[in-house]
Subunit: 223 residues, 2 copies
């Protein structure tokens, strides 16, 4: 360590000296930055760290991405584009709506399964803050969602519990996003937004599956 005087150029990607063509450096930096953003979250991410790991001085970053936020956005765009493509491709060539939904959903959750932390960076919306904070905010969200579940259960006492929970999460997420959407489209009157939302929430509520009767109750427990 202690790279002091350019003594050992530690060739990056097969280029002599520390010097590397613009495009290559850019990719290398993006790769690294993405990792660091994922590990530390937007807040704790430090440009200095990035530079240390990349073996490059700070002005380079500003030269390439303009600002910290520029760098962040560049990372987001890259990952997001990648995800979006696999997602859309999965749904595009479906024969009917039913299949489009299913294939899209499957692709979406496969992405999450494959690389959860990477997904959190862009879609999760949480990794913008440090790990602990993100968790505590999730808890807050969950509190509300639990209360939604409770109310739902009152009206559908025999529904499958997991389905109710899932439904509550979906409703909550849908509400939030529709809220954000509305803020960007304030001309739409409230009643109409509420209508849209209700269509959404009501129908899925009506479809909640019943819990399976508990066949194991009172039976001999398997040894």
């Amino acid at each position: 360590m202690a790279v002091s005087k350019r003594s050992a150029p530690e060739r990056v990607g097969g280029f002599k000296h520390g010097r590397v063509p613009r495009a290559v450096r850019e990719q290398q930096l993006l790769e690294l930055a993405e990792r660091l953003f994922i590990e530390s979250g937007y807040g704790a991410f430090s440009i200095e760290d990035l530079c240390r790991e990349a073996g490059v001085s700070r002005p380079i970053i500003y030269d390439h991405f303009g600002s910290r936020d520029g760098l962040y956005l560049a990372c987001l765009r890259r990952v997001r584009a990648e995800f979006e493509n696999t997602l859309i491709n999965a749904a595009r060539d479906a024969p009917d709506a039913e299949a489009a939904i299913r294939q899209g959903a499957d692709a979406f959750f496969t992405i999450i399964e494959r690389d959860p932390r990477r997904w959190s960076l862009v879609y999760g919306g949480l990794s913008e803050l440090g790990g602990t904070l993100a968790d505590q905010i999730y808890e807050l969200r969950t509190d509300t969602i639990d209360r939604i579940s409770a109310i739902t259960t009152r009206f559908a006492p025999h529904a499958d519990r997991e389905a109710v929970t899932a439904h509550a999460h979906a409703v909550s997420g849908a509400g939030e996003q529709m809220g954000r959407w509305w803020l960007h489209n304030p001309d739409i009157p409230r009643e109409r937004i509420v209508d849209h939302f209700c269509t959404f929430a009501r129908m899925s509520f009506l479809q909640l599956p019943m819990a399976e009767p508990d066949l194991t109750a009172g039976s001999v427990p398997a040894s």
Copy 2:
């Protein structure tokens, strides 16, 4: 300005000197911090600013809230609790599920309408970053959502356009939240998550209202 030497104690809330009982100070700080968090976003928020405006030195903050994140969470909790109560109260005493959903939704969007920026702080999930960044991230989200809309339109060409857009936002939001939920409950197999999600997305898709036939087409435009 230039409050230099405690010369003018500028009584806070009717207390002589700068000295104020713990609980009162806490409320005062929360109030102020909330405003600043809303104005600057989590990232740009500076404890120094808060102190300047509150006429108090930095250690006070740490004494009360432990850390920057502690302060942030305290703000979130306060607002969130308030919102959650009005929301839940609205839905709680509904006669049936239909009414519960409608009343809940109405309460929810009324909250947004009344105080959009405050809502963004907690539920928006965007104000954690500065204004510009948040907007650009919203754009990214919107790109994806537009593509969802496009696919939906292909399968339901005569559906009302706004409803399709709303549906896309809802589906996207629901997906994100279900993703987060899944990350915290990794034991659930993917197929089941996909099922839950599909129930949700499919039913609301089937309910998409048709666009009104365009009665003005070819008619004399109203002067």
